[in-house]
């Protein structure tokens, strides 16, 4: 279970970026963080694994108090894939093996290799495993980062705009994998995403953020024309295609 309560954060200026943001959810859900640019979605995500330390408020993940936990404890509980990602001139296998860093000492164990092999197979990266990551396409690289996060065997997976700058095919591939991880591994996946329709197709919980605050939270029922108008400032209609809700901006 994750429980963020009254999380406040400000950068060096006096203006608060996050104002008492709350989020509570059981494991196994794929949560979309939605809202305009600069509303504090990525900042909130970074407060989860203490890349940024909140000014006040608490974040609990499976009873681990993130503000008091060690870096290693946090890495054993939460995996994070940042927005603009790279891994230098490492092979795909090396990069995924890095996900085992919080678990291993100096050299990888047989179990580490087994976990890495599974993550690579699951994301269909077997043919690429000895390729250098700086030779991969954006979609392939994003899958490598997801495999690394899987190899970390966390309880919560944090993804910051994983579909940014990907083509439509890869956007759906990445989101399908993320949603699959949540349901099959009973893991909480929190995704910062701008595409409402991608979020509606693959996520089952939605946190709408506005002006640094949590505006509304819940299942697909919170995605309404009124909420979209209030959060994004655009007029939109919600319709259904093949049983899936879609948002069309007027």
């Amino acid at each position: 279970m994750i429980h963020a309560e009254n999380v406040n954060f400000s950068y060096h200026t006096d203006e608060s970026v996050l104002k008492a943001v709350c989020l509570k959810e059981e494991a196994g859900h794929c949560i979309a963080l939605l809202g305009n640019n600069g509303v504090g979605k990525s900042t909130f995500l970074k407060c989860f694994n203490r890349i940024l330390r909140p000014d006040s408020g608490t974040v609990l993940v499976e009873n681990l108090n993130i503000s008091k936990a060690s870096r290693k404890e946090i890495a054993l509980t939460l995996a994070y894939v940042e927005q603009h990602t790279s891994s230098g001139r490492l092979t795909v296998y090396d990069t995924v093996l890095l996900g085992r860093k919080p678990h291993m000492k100096m050299t990888p164990s047989e179990e580490d290799y087994a976990v890495v092999d599974n993550a690579i197979e699951r994301l269909h990266l077997t043919d690429l495993k000895l390729r250098y990551t700086d030779e991969l396409s954006g979609g392939e690289l994003q899958k490598v980062m997801l495999a690394r996060a899987l190899a970390q065997q966390p309880k919560v997976l944090l993804l910051d705009e994983p579909t940014a700058s990907l083509d439509i095919y890869n956007q759906h591939e990445v989101m399908k994998i993320a949603a699959g991880i949540a349901s099959e591994d009973n893991m909480t996946v929190i995704i910062v995403i701008h595409d409402l329709n991608l979020a509606l197709k693959y996520c089952d919980r939605f946190l709408l953020m506005h002006d640094g605050k949590s505006f509304d939270y819940g299942d697909v029922s919170v995605i309404t024309s009124e909420n979209i108008k209030a959060v994004y400032g655009v007029n939109a209609v919600i319709t259904e295609v093949d049983g899936n809700k879609i948002v069309i901006v007027k």
Partner: protein
């Protein structure tokens, strides 16, 4: 199933084994160059005689040439080259900057100023006959090294503060290093201006870089520092791997990034300061050694670090050989040779980056 377990990571492990073979090859190559560095010179000694002498069965004349002059020189080249190689490698990792090294970000120049300050103002050194025609004996190595370390740290802290700003890129950081180097060179010039002739000559000869001014006592100190730095860096190799993805990714993987960056830079600066205070400024070795081996071992720091160290040792051994052979029996300053070899490679790295 055990059989299934055996297959885990098999392809990867055989891929990694190639890197280990490369390291073994580099190590053996270093031994060959080391023996050549001992054998060749103004008076050449055959490899057989070199080996006999090293194992204690040589003639008296060979023993004097090899054990008293060439062996300390070659061991100094290995220790200093290995040290500069791994320091450059680590600085490139923690600053996320392929152009970083002790000499390009002003750490060596800061150390040189500190050592010059100790020699001139605190009476830390004196002149005597040496391999480049004159040589500096450091009377008070502790004071000289501490002064070198202090000013190396001034450069380090300045560079660390600069690299905190996101808009500072690789080239800007090197430009900042150029500015720092100029500042410390100006400081050294001012020190020399107010010093007497003997001390000025001492500092000038010393800044040329000289592998012949170290004796076993200094080599043991330098070697110990380099070994400890190598162990510390190797223990952090997974952290350096994680930091290639950026500081946030590294934090997400459990790396204490701030302390890793700070401790690595302090250990690196101290190692560079010790090397500079004993043999002067050796440019480019730390910068180019990691780039020379990256093609073979990639950026996996578990293998890149020892490979960069061995490449640095080879660069310094070859430079030393050239410095002694080009217009033998005159020994050219080693700092000039490494710069002549290193400058074109440095330009190649910049051009290659530009194309990307």
């Amino acid at each position: 199933m055990p059989e299934d377990k055996m297959r885990r990571g098999l392809e990867y492990r055989s891929f990694v084994r190639k890197k280990i073979y490369f390291l073994i090859f580099l190590f053996l190559f270093t031994i060959v160059v080391f023996l050549l560095a001992i054998a060749l010179g103004s008076s050449s000694v055959s490899l057989g005689r070199v080996l006999r002498t090293l194992f204690g069965h040589g003639e008296k004349k060979d023993s004097i040439i090899i054990l008293s002059i060439r062996l300390p020189r070659a061991v100094t080249a290995i220790a200093a080259g290995f040290g500069l190689g791994i320091v450059g490698c680590v600085m490139q990792s923690v600053l996320r900057n392929p152009l970083a090294s002790a000499s390009t970000i002003g750490v060596s120049q800061g150390a040189a100023f500190g050592a010059a300050f100790a020699i001139i103002a605190l009476g830390g050194g004196m002149m005597s006959a040496g391999s480049t025609g004159a040589q500096l004996n450091v009377n008070n190595p502790v004071v000289t090294t501490l002064c070198a370390f202090f000013f190396a740290m001034v450069s380090t802290i300045f560079v660390l503060c600069l690299s905190r700003f996101r808009e500072i890129n690789a080239s800007t950081l090197v430009l900042a290093g150029v500015a720092l180097s100029s500042l410390f060179s100006a400081g050294t010039t001012l020190l020399e201006y107010f010093a007497d002739d003997v001390r000025v000559a001492a500092v000038v000869y010393w800044t040329f870089g000289d592998l012949g001014s170290t004796f076993w006592k200094e080599i043991i100190v330098m070697g110990t520092v380099v070994v400890f730095a190598a162990i510390y860096f190797q223990l952090n190799s997974w952290n350096y791997n994680a930091m290639q993805g950026g500081e946030e990714t590294a934090k997400g993987l459990g790396v204490k990034t701030q302390s890793t960056i700070l401790c690595s830079m302090v250990v690196g600066s101290f190692t560079a300061a010790v090397i500079v205070s004993y043999i002067g400024i050796i440019s480019f070795v730390g910068l180019i050694a990691p780039h020379l081996v990256r093609k073979f071992v990639g950026s996996d720091y578990r293998y890149l670090l020892p490979a960069a160290g061995l490449a640095g040792a080879n660069l310094l051994l070859v430079s030393d050989l050239l410095s002694r052979l080009i217009i033998s029996p005159i020994v050219l300053p080693i700092g000039a040779i490494t710069s002549i070899l290193g400058a074109p490679i440095f330009l190649w790295i910049i051009l290659k980056r530009g194309r990307h």
